[in-house]
């Protein structure tokens, strides 16, 4: 049984990998960007766990910048994805422009809150 589970898991993982390989490159870039943001957020949380949350606002702003930008990137991925029927009529450049604008606003707020 265990062998089949692991084999099943491996088979699942393999099929996921192969399926993922067929995604377009720009989506992969966006995925990579999201991973980067999340990892940064995790490192910040680990740091806070070690030293304490003294300048709490700084911690929050740092964390929220990572999380915010990740969220925005996910939104961009949704809108840009050709297989998504909902955003069929939205040109990807437009989505990208929204992404840039929202990021800029987010980072303004973050910088203000950073202290």
């Amino acid at each position: 049984m265990a062998r089949t589970t692991t084999k099943d898991a491996q088979a699942l993982f393999q099929s996921l990998r192969s399926a993922y390989a067929s995604t377009p490159t720009n989506l992969k870039i966006i995925d990579l960007y999201v991973m980067f943001a999340v990892f940064t957020a995790l490192i910040q949380v680990a740091y806070m766990a070690i030293v304490g949350s003294f300048p709490f606002n700084s911690f929050l702003s740092g964390l929220l910048s990572c999380v915010g930008t990740a969220v925005l990137a996910v939104c961009l991925r949704i809108q840009v994805n050709k297989e998504n029927k909902e955003f069929k009529d939205l040109p990807p450049e437009r989505a990208f422009a929204d992404f840039v604008l929202c990021n800029l606003v987010l980072h303004l707020v973050i910088m203000n809150f950073l202290g």
Partner: protein
């Protein structure tokens, strides 16, 4: 007199700066003969001090403004002289302090110098003819007429005024007055013209000032050139018309249509009437003249009085700016009355006291401050009262000096001063000195009292003086007074015998400590006592002639180290003065304060020359502890500047700063943060990211480049915002950059969109291959 003028200066300023009515409470200065440098200032309501010095005893008396120090002499009007030339003469005998507090001084150098100070011509002449005349007349009366030399500048204006036909009566009048003194060169025709103009004015005048000026001018012309034709045609008519303006109370109206009456106008009227009489070609009816004399008497009924006996005239109704003051009014009245009495035949009986009171008024003004006052101070009037005698006491001289001189400083005829009586203030009946004549010392021109009987003891006395003229003929010219009373203190050294201080044991009265004191020298006794004991201080006082003496002040004061003071009066029985402080009863009064007390004794009196205020020594008092409800000692005054000293230091406790992580840890995590970024970049490369979509043609390429640069600029702005900018500046810059970025971004992205659309359709086209 000269030596006193320096010291006079201070009081002069006080006298002149104070309003007349406040004089009864003036500050007087007392000058002790022993130590002239000790000028003690007393502010006293009714004290009397005049300084004398005698051979054995020193006398101290104080001049009182309220009392009738001034010997009033009776007024004698000399009217029987053949020449019909009347002088009102008064002799005022005033005993005053040689130094400061005299008010009734005769005219002296101080007046003259004041006149010189006040009447200073500007550029050689005065501003108006009136002022010129005042200056000239003042200097003439004071005898310093030669000091003012303005004839060169004033004569031309005088001549011009007299010559012009447009001058009004008042200007002509003053010009003529100036002319009388300056004696400018004038042509005959001018005077003739002026006199005819004035005569015409007299006939047509209806108001009092017009009469006054025109008649006065005619009189002046008559005095200067006796042959001029200035006699009035209808003198009696003019007389009656002036008289018609009089009122029943002796005052005069200014004009027939002016219902207000004025005392000043009365003076003017009298002078005018006197002028009419002198200008009349024939005698005016006596009955008419007599009515005027009645008016004079009635006017004198309205005379007002100050407390010190000086009399003056003043207006009843004061109307604003026209009111000039009592000096002005009084001098006008006196001028008028003297002029009238000079020309009226028959005697003019006026109360003698009135004339002398008026003279006192003028003398009492002191040195007036402004020019009008100085002029009015009766240099007119006093000229009508040319002889007043004021004796002065010279304190420097060992013998009493009573000096007699006239008001204007001139010498007097021979006379004798007698000390009629000297009696003690306390015992009214007995008089010590009777009828002692004062010898006249020719060198110093003082009347001197040589010897004083030995029986005179220290204390307060009343001296009565009388002035009698030697030559009885002079009685008609000069008037001397009756008796003057002067209160006098006679001072001396009071003997203090057997002063001692002792500590006694409670009820038994046994002496624990006894110390003798030397009240003439320094003492510093040290005593100690507890609350069960008593302190006794005793001494004896006696006058030089051995009698018992009770001083005004005999006080002992105990002062604690914390400056709390307690004062006790020393009682006496006969000569013996003694005080016993029973500490048992005084414990509560002393607020239970134990510790060192300084003892101070004060013995003083006005007639005691050796008054003393001495620190006797120190006493340590041991008092019991204060109970719960005991009164606290009163708070002593704190040094008012102590609140400006440094204050207590405040140490601020700052909030302990939060614990920060160690530097290395922070730096390590900084590095760690960068790792995902590097991972991202590596991943990008792995994916094979390229810039193929970057537009190749020029314009879009520029826009694309600008787009990226714009985003980079915004991020840089954020970094700056974090480092040093504030939100407003950031927003401003962000707004500008945003607009730029939107514009550029829209261009490039739309270009890309169109490109990819073309590609898509192209691809579609290429993809769709029917052949396969």
């Amino acid at each position: 007199m000269g030596m006193m003028s320096g010291k006079l200066g201070i009081l002069k300023k006080i006298l002149t700066s104070l309003p007349r009515q406040s004089k009864p409470s003036l500050i007087t200065t007392v000058w002790s003969q022993d130590s002239p440098s000790q000028l003690k200032n007393y502010s006293l309501q009714n004290p009397r001090l005049v300084l004398f010095s005698f051979q054995n005893l020193k006398f101290l008396t104080l001049f009182d403004f309220d009392s009738h120090i001034v010997l009033i002499s009776s007024f004698i009007c000399f009217a029987d002289m053949a020449r019909n030339y009347v002088r009102f003469l008064a002799l005022i005998l005033a005993i005053s302090i040689c130094c400061e507090a005299a008010i009734f001084r005769p005219i002296s150098e101080s007046h003259r110098s004041a006149a010189l100070d006040l009447f200073k011509p500007i550029d050689g002449s005065f501003s108006s003819l009136e002022e010129t005349y005042e200056a000239l007349r003042t200097f003439e009366v004071l005898g310093i007429g030669n000091k003012l030399d303005i004839s060169a500048s004033t004569c031309p204006s005088v001549v011009e005024v007299l010559g012009s036909s447009s001058s009004n009566l008042k200007t002509l009048f003053y010009a003529l007055r100036n002319q009388r003194i300056l004696k400018c060169a004038l042509k005959e025709e001018i005077l003739k013209g002026v006199s005819s103009k004035l005569k015409a004015a007299v006939n047509s005048a209806s108001a009092l000032p017009d009469f006054y000026h025109s008649i006065g001018g005619l009189v002046l012309i008559k005095d200067q050139t006796p042959e001029a034709n200035v006699l009035l045609d209808d003198a009696e008519g003019v007389f009656r018309s002036i008289k018609a303006l009089s009122q029943s109370d002796g005052r005069w109206r200014y004009g027939s249509n002016n219902p207000e009456s004025s005392t000043y106008a009365a003076g003017m009227a009298f002078e005018a009437l006197a002028g009419v009489i002198s200008l009349a070609p024939s005698e005016i009816e006596q009955a008419v003249v007599a009515t005027v004399k009645n008016d004079v008497v009635k006017l004198f009924d309205s005379i007002e009085k100050y407390d010190d006996g000086s009399l003056y005239f003043d207006e009843k109704i004061v109307n604003g700016h026209e009111h000039q003051g009592p000096i002005f009014v009084t001098s006008s009245v006196i001028r008028g009355v003297t002029a009238f009495a000079a020309v009226a035949s028959g005697s003019l009986k006026l109360p003698g006291d009135d004339m002398l009171g008026l003279a006192k008024f003028f003398l009492g003004i002191g040195i007036p401050g402004n020019t009008k006052d100085l002029f009015n101070q009766g240099f007119h009037a006093i000229d009508s009262i040319p002889s007043s005698n004021c004796p002065f006491i010279d304190s420097e001289r060992p013998a009493q000096g009573v000096s007699v001189s006239s008001v204007l400083g001139y010498n007097t005829p021979p006379l004798t001063v007698t000390l009629v009586q000297a009696s003690s203030s306390s015992s009214k009946s007995a008089s010590i000195i009777e009828n002692q004549e004062l010898k006249f010392d020719h060198d110093s021109s003082f009347h001197v009292l040589d010897a004083l009987p030995k029986s005179v003891d220290i204390g307060k006395y009343l001296f009565t003086f009388e002035v009698v003229l030697n030559d009885s003929e002079n009685e008609k010219v000069y008037a001397t007074g009756g008796k003057t009373q002067v209160p006098i203190f006679i001072t001396g050294v009071v003997k203090i015998d057997s002063p001692e201080i002792a500590i006694l044991d409670s009820d038994l009265g046994s002496i624990e400590t006894q110390k003798k004191l030397d009240l003439a020298g320094e003492n510093s006794v040290t005593l100690s006592a507890n609350h069960l004991q008593k302190l006794r201080l005793s001494f004896q006082l006696s006058t030089p002639s051995g009698k018992a003496f009770k001083p005004h002040q005999a006080i002992i004061k105990l002062r604690h180290e914390s400056n709390v003071e307690h004062v006790f009066l020393v009682g006496n029985s006969g000569k013996q003065f003694e005080i016993i402080l029973d500490f048992l009863g005084l414990v509560e009064k002393f607020y239970y304060l134990s510790g060192g007390y300084d003892i101070q004794l004060t013995v003083g009196d006005a007639v005691m020359e050796n008054s003393l205020l001495k620190a006797l020594g120190h006493i340590e008092l041991d008092l019991p502890e204060p109970p719960e409800k005991a009164a606290r000692p009163p708070a002593q005054p704190v040094d008012p500047y102590s609140r400006y000293g440094p204050k207590a230091e405040i140490s601020h406790i700052f909030r302990t700063p939060e614990k920060r992580p160690p530097q290395e840890l922070s730096l390590g995590f900084l590095g760690l943060i960068l790792v995902p970024f590097i991972g991202f970049l590596v991943g990008l490369l792995t994916l094979g990211v390229n810039l193929k979509n970057f537009p190749s043609s020029a314009v879009p390429a520029i826009f694309a480049a600008l787009f990226h640069l714009g985003i980079g600029a915004v991020l840089l702005l954020y970094v700056l915002f974090w480092l040093k900018l504030d939100l407003f500046m950031t927003l401003k810059a962000l707004g500008l950059l945003g607009i730029f970025l939107i514009f550029v971004g829209q261009r490039i992205l739309s270009h890309l969109a169109s490109t990819s659309a073309k590609l898509k359709s192209g691809d579609l086209m290429t993809d769709f291959d029917p052949a396969g």
